[in-house]
Symmetry: C2
Subunit: 235 residues, 2 copies
DNA sequence: CGATGACCGGATTCGAAATCTGGTCACAGC
DNA sequence: GCTGTGACCAGATTTCGAATCCGGTCATCG
């Protein structure tokens, strides 16, 4: 890794740390610079604005999640199924405080970023990936055909949102694994078909899905580097 | 209806109207009094505090929803099933602006009430009702037995929350009926059994469930009248 | 005796001054 | 030359005391 990128990483590390400790609202560019051991101007050699810096902190975290999902898919083809994706994502998010803040729309930690459309490029790319994935799985009869892709997408989105945002009705919350199980079962029963249990069927789509995710990863990284978040434009 | 209660209703009407038009934060007790055609002191003959007044606006709205559900159950025993409850509730909530604000945690309309534990008595009663209902339906094998009641409760809560709070991934939102369908299907597949299609099985539980709801309605009304929201204590 | 609105004090808002901070850029160091 | 920096600027934010507002009470009135 070139030294410039290493330094960018150090800045992101410092920013991530401070955002978690103080909340994005209280974190100043100067403090990030101090903690990263660089001058303030240097931050702006890497990031277009303060907000870009924070968005990229979240983007980097998201990329880590994508990598984890891809790794899981390589280990086990069943990980391409929505139910397992949802389970892995849920547990991975709980493990990463910044993603937890993001998924639970935590204003204390993320400030305006929690609700703002700042992470919009991620949303759009994610939506595109989801549509592509659902279409493929439907073609392979791994997903039910008794409703439209549109409705399935809406349902998946709503169900997952609910598991991140719902405040448990009764005091004692469930263990993360139990909640993740409940989420996976719900999604399995909502959209998947029995064919999902056939290893052959899964093996057929797994490489394609892995490819889709890798392209998604690249698109995400590119959106960051070429987009409004980065100082260095590919000249 | 005694004239005192009629006046309380008028006050609630005025408060509901103003909250919707201006947002709870901007509504003063004096304005509510003016719009209800009474003196400010009169408000406090009926409600313990300003917040109580607003909570009771929401409570009244919720009672309306309960009545609607009970009516649906009387018309059609299938309405006792979680999937149909969820569908009816979803559509009824969309139709009532105040409940929509409540379920979507709309801070602009409800101010602190949106997040605050102000409506807590409602939560507790609702949780009790839900547990009771699930237990009954499980005993009649209308609900799956392949997971705990605890997990089913959590799942129902999360899924419904999601349908109220999720921002559609793609621009065009679904028609209310389509979304409600998706919600109902999801819940049906998540917790119900095929036995739910048998009219006889439904007819057996319907009266019991109706009774539970009516007791819930009374408990809710009582919590309001005897609780910290009302000036008139049953002496 | 039920209803009221003047009244009280704590909470909120206002506004201008003071401070802070995002972003720039002239310059220092290499 | 070229990279990295922090002094600098203007606009945003905070501060803080004064002014206003408003929830809640209760003496009074009909």
């Amino acid at each position: 890794m070139p030294p410039a990128e290493q330094r960018a990483e150090r800045i992101l590390d410092a920013a991530a740390d401070l955002v978690l400790r103080w909340g994005a609202k209280r974190v100043t560019v100067e403090e990030v610079a101090r903690h990263a051991g660089v001058g303030k101007g240097t931050i702006y050699l890497h990031f277009a604005t303060r907000e870009s810096l924070f968005v990229r902190v979240l983007m980097r975290e998201s990329l880590g999640l994508v990598d984890e999902l891809v790794a899981a898919m390589r280990r086990d083809p069943a990980a391409v199924l929505p139910a397992e994706q949802a389970r892995s994502t849920y547990l991975a998010v709980l493990r990463r405080p910044l993603l937890r803040a993001m998924f639970s729309r935590d204003i204390d930690v993320l400030g305006d970023l929690a609700t703002k459309t700042a992470a919009d490029p991620l949303r759009v790319l994610k939506a595109d990936l989801a549509v592509e994935l659902l279409r493929l799985l439907r073609e392979h009869r791994l997903l039910r055909a008794d409703t439209t892709l549109e409705v399935q997408l809406y349902t998946l989105n709503a169900v997952q949102t609910g598991f991140y945002l719902s405040v448990p009705l009764r005091a004692g919350s469930l263990a993360p694994e139990t909640a993740a199980d409940a989420l996976a079962r719900t999604i399995r029963d909502a959209v998947q078909t029995p064919r999902c249990a056939e290893p052959a069927a899964l093996a057929a789509v797994a490489p394609v899905v892995t490819g889709m995710y890798q392209r998604f990863r690249v698109a995400l990284a590119t959106a960051v580097t070429d987009g409004p978040y980065d100082r260095q434009r590919s000249s």
